[in-house]
Amino acid sequence: MANSNVGRPDNTPVWIISGILLIYGALVASGALTGLLTTFKVHKAIDLMQTMSFMGGGLGVVVALLRQSRMGKPMTNFDTFFLETVPGVLFIIALAMGIRWFAEPLMKMMSAGLVPVLGFKIHKVLNLNYVVLGILVGIIITNSWGIPKFAASGVKTARFVLKMGVILLGARYSFAELAKLGMVSVWMIGFFVLGTVFFTLFLGKIFKQPKSMTGVLSAGMGVCGVSATVACAPVVKAKSSEMAYTIGTILGFGILCMFAFPTIGKIAGMNATQFGAWAGTGILNSAQVAAACLAFNAVDIKTLKVGEIFNITRVLFLPVIVLVLATWFGKASGQKLTFKEVVVDKFPIFIIGFLILFFMSSMGLFSPPDHYKGKYLDFSYNERTEVTPEELVTLEDAFKAGIPGLHADEKSAFADLVKQHQIAGNFEDRTNDAVFKETARERMRGLESMLARQKGGELTLSKDVKSAVKHAVKQVHKKSKTVVTLTDAMIWFFAYGLIGLGMQITRKSLAQAGGWPLVMGGIAGVTKATLSFIVVMYFVKDVVLH
């Protein structure tokens, strides 16, 4: 009887996790937790919480019953791939739920509470979001209690789920993004992305680091941080600890940049566009790019927009990098590969998936094709785009009285808002879509600039006028529900995958890699920042966006 389970771990943990999920779902459904969830600002996810808890809990009960009935019988494929995997999957889902709905909001609240002491939000600076928290939780579990036996098979699904996340990433971008950038900018981004990748590979050779470590680090330093690391890891067969190292290096380097960039930019006398282009090229993590741009210049909205779009566009180089790394890895392993073998045989199918979703997104399947992370501008004449009648009165009064200190573009944008009750192009241009939208965008920029200058203390607006203008800008910003939902799914896949990834990282594996990845990342990052600084200073004058 000693071997009656034939390698099956105990069923009790499955019952416990299912029970916890079901009880949590019931508590949320009963409304007992609504107060707490509102404090954590996650009450909007109540429906999702119920669905996930009840479905997960229900599945857990079914699996637990099936496993109970099969104890002592030999394992079949159904056991290996389903019954033994689900407990671990549920375990990670439960952890992911805890991180998304409790740990992350708690971190935000604590960091907001520390603002009076520190003067800044520490979770933003240290980037303590679900990505980092997920990996940390995984690492802590593995290195303290070890991966629970019942969850071992489920943890092996982490890489698979991460791949799903990378495929979904494609849905957030579109060709229109590339079209917004001028050719100079596209060349510049391409040069720096590929340049950093090759430079890091070269450093890896000098410092004699494993190919897998160098490969994944080069992708992370070249493209766009965490997502690129995840996407390229399977191509170079990187270990979990190497991925963790890369993510750590990128985020650590980004923290330094966030403080150094604005100061250097100011000393060098960069203009708004130049700084945006530099930060978007040199800093890897998009949240850190935004923070640096705002620190440099909170008044001119151009800085942030240029920075963000430079940063985002790098992701579109992902398939190219995968191709480069696949070729390099094949060659470095001593295989002679023909072009066909690299492109057709070695190109990972999940990156093709990323391209498929990217293509679908560019075709406008998820939202109007010129969307930006699912957000798009809608200037069509529509009651839902207008300001309220009360706001209109406020705006008219302010217009009659005149606002001192307005620039010409701000003035005309404001006048047109009063005239048309919403942000729009010229009425007579309404059949010519391109002209109509361009005029409208210009007006929106004018109004946004008013708000930004008011915030920076350059302009005085009454509270009502400010809120009316803000509302007018908000009204033309529409969000595609499809892209928002797909993004949410992606975040869950990443959270799940990263917890699983963290669970595969032991202290021993981290010690094996030593400090070299940090050194290499640091050298590559500083070189890129310096070179892009020179390029930006000499070649990017003003207009980089169409």
Binding site: T80, F81, T85, S153, K156, T157, R159, F160, V161, K163, M164, I167, L168, A171, P234, K237, S240, P348, I349, F350, I352, G353, I356, L357, M360, L365, F366, K481, T482, T485, L486, A489, Q504
Partner: protein
């Protein structure tokens, strides 16, 4: 018996591949990728169905 002994010899390369494989529940990289793609397609279809076509 001698057949068996021969077969138990594991080349370092195979060993490495096995370790890598052990981190996944799938039989091969291709299977893993195709399953991921299939699942994402299902997710995408469902999301489109509920947020766009039926909404």
């Amino acid at each position: 018996m001698s057949e068996e002994t021969k077969n138990t010899e594991v080349k370092p390369q195979d060993q490495e591949a096995n370790e890598e494989r052990a981190l996944s529940v799938f039989a091969s990289e291709k299977n893993e990728d195709l399953t991921a793609l299939g699942m994402v397609m299902i997710v995408t279809f469902l999301v489109l169905l509920f947020t766009k076509w039926l909404a």
